[in-house]
Subunit: 241 residues, 2 copies
């Protein structure tokens, strides 16, 4: 008879939001936990190596097993990534930045873990979405995250108005969205053109870097005073008045 | 001429999710930052004192200034809590558990800070909402948090169905909600009675405690197998299939 093995745990580990961030913004238990894991599912191997070197410059990275889970991964590859856990080994899941499974493909692996009875243990850490919500001063009990809005101008204008309407309909519920950093300028121009002057907008940009921006103003106040966010990671939170 | 003073910063500091949680789940920079603050806005003084004693058992708590910001605070009292920042002193904002301004009245103070040009600096830490979302395996890019659902049976049933409909309409977007811990049993009974068997539900309970629950199953699988969550803090995440 084959003995039934206790499965390993899938640990969801936060990564720094910015290459210059040090380990001080991370939970103290992260390094001892991460440095004992042999099996990793990561968004990119380069970021994973940098992460491990920040935790311990002498980490024997070449002895570790890395599987890639990102937008190029096919759904049918994901299940096999849990094999180490099924034979009793723990696995670390790591994003390029921030919390895995929040706005990245890591959620597929977590869903598989639940299907196969692999315990899931998320470790809290920096998330630019949560930091923007906390720091916005907007409703932190009723909020929606929309991910990326459409890129095409007319569709984007329509989406921005729909998001503003949703906030108004839900008594000022906070509406969050993100954009690819090199399109932030177009998004800001579209907000200026399509949102009401009284709507409040919080910009959380370069969070976790030495020079973060976290400011809430009305659209009227932002008009003509937009920060330069070209190629800078940013989260936007909006609240209709 | 009165010199223009640089305002102090409003720091949003995370508190442990559970009384038994130690400081290891908190960012390493939290203690040195928190222990240098003299002015505090807190949800309850008892939790704030416990928090500071965890960071440093010898903390001279009696020399600190605490203002209370909770559901009993009147809106017109909030602005005065920023006075120390206007005269150049930093302020710490603290919830009873988790991240301030997420599902607690702290957001009022943050909104005031933005109005008066007081810089806002959120520090990442454990949030039961974010941990449940990460660990659910559900959509981490499109999600909505609804806060508390109605208590009255018919209104609750209607709200649950509306939340399930919203997930279906938005291609499986994750829907999160919470309940007062002593009403978790009624909420689970209502979910069993009103949600479709194929809908997936994640329960994140007692997160941050030594015995957390974080499990995603279909309603059909939960039926008759609910955990005992009486008086246990829990977050619920739902995804229609």
């Amino acid at each position: 008879m084959v003995p039934v093995r206790t499965p390993g745990t899938l640990y969801l580990l936060p990564a720094p939001l910015h290459p210059e961030a040090d380990s001080q913004s991370m939970p103290a238990m992260l390094a001892p936990l991460a440095l004992r894991l042999k099996h990793w599912v990561v968004e990119s191997e380069r970021s994973a190596r940098r992460f491990l070197r920040i935790l311990n410059p002498g980490c024997p990275i070449d002895t570790l097993h890395f599987s890639l889970l990102n937008e190029h991964t096919r759904a049918e590859e994901v299940s096999a990534m849990l094999c180490p856990a099924r034979s009793g080994e723990h696995i670390g899941l790591l994003s390029d930045a921030g919390c895995p499974a929040i706005a990245d493909p890591g959620a597929w692996l977590v869903a598989e873990a639940h299907k196969h009875g692999v315990p899931v243990h998320p470790v809290a850490g920096p998330s630019s979405i949560l930091l923007t919500l906390m720091g916005s001063g907007m409703d932190g009990q009723k909020f929606s995250m929309h991910g990326y809005l459409p890129v095409e101008a007319l569709a984007r204008a329509r989406a921005l108005k729909a998001v503003e309407d949703e906030s108004r309909r839900r008594a000022g519920a906070t509406q969050l969205f993100i954009e690819t950093p090199y399109r932030n300028r177009q998004l800001m121009a579209a907000m200026e053109a399509n949102l009401r002057g009284s709507t409040r907008l919080c910009i959380g940009a370069a969070l976790g870097s030495p020079k973060p921006t976290l400011i809430t103003r009305s659209l009227t106040e932002w008009k003509g005073n937009w920060p330069d966010l070209h190629k800078i990671p940013a989260v936007f939170a909006l609240q209709a008045q």
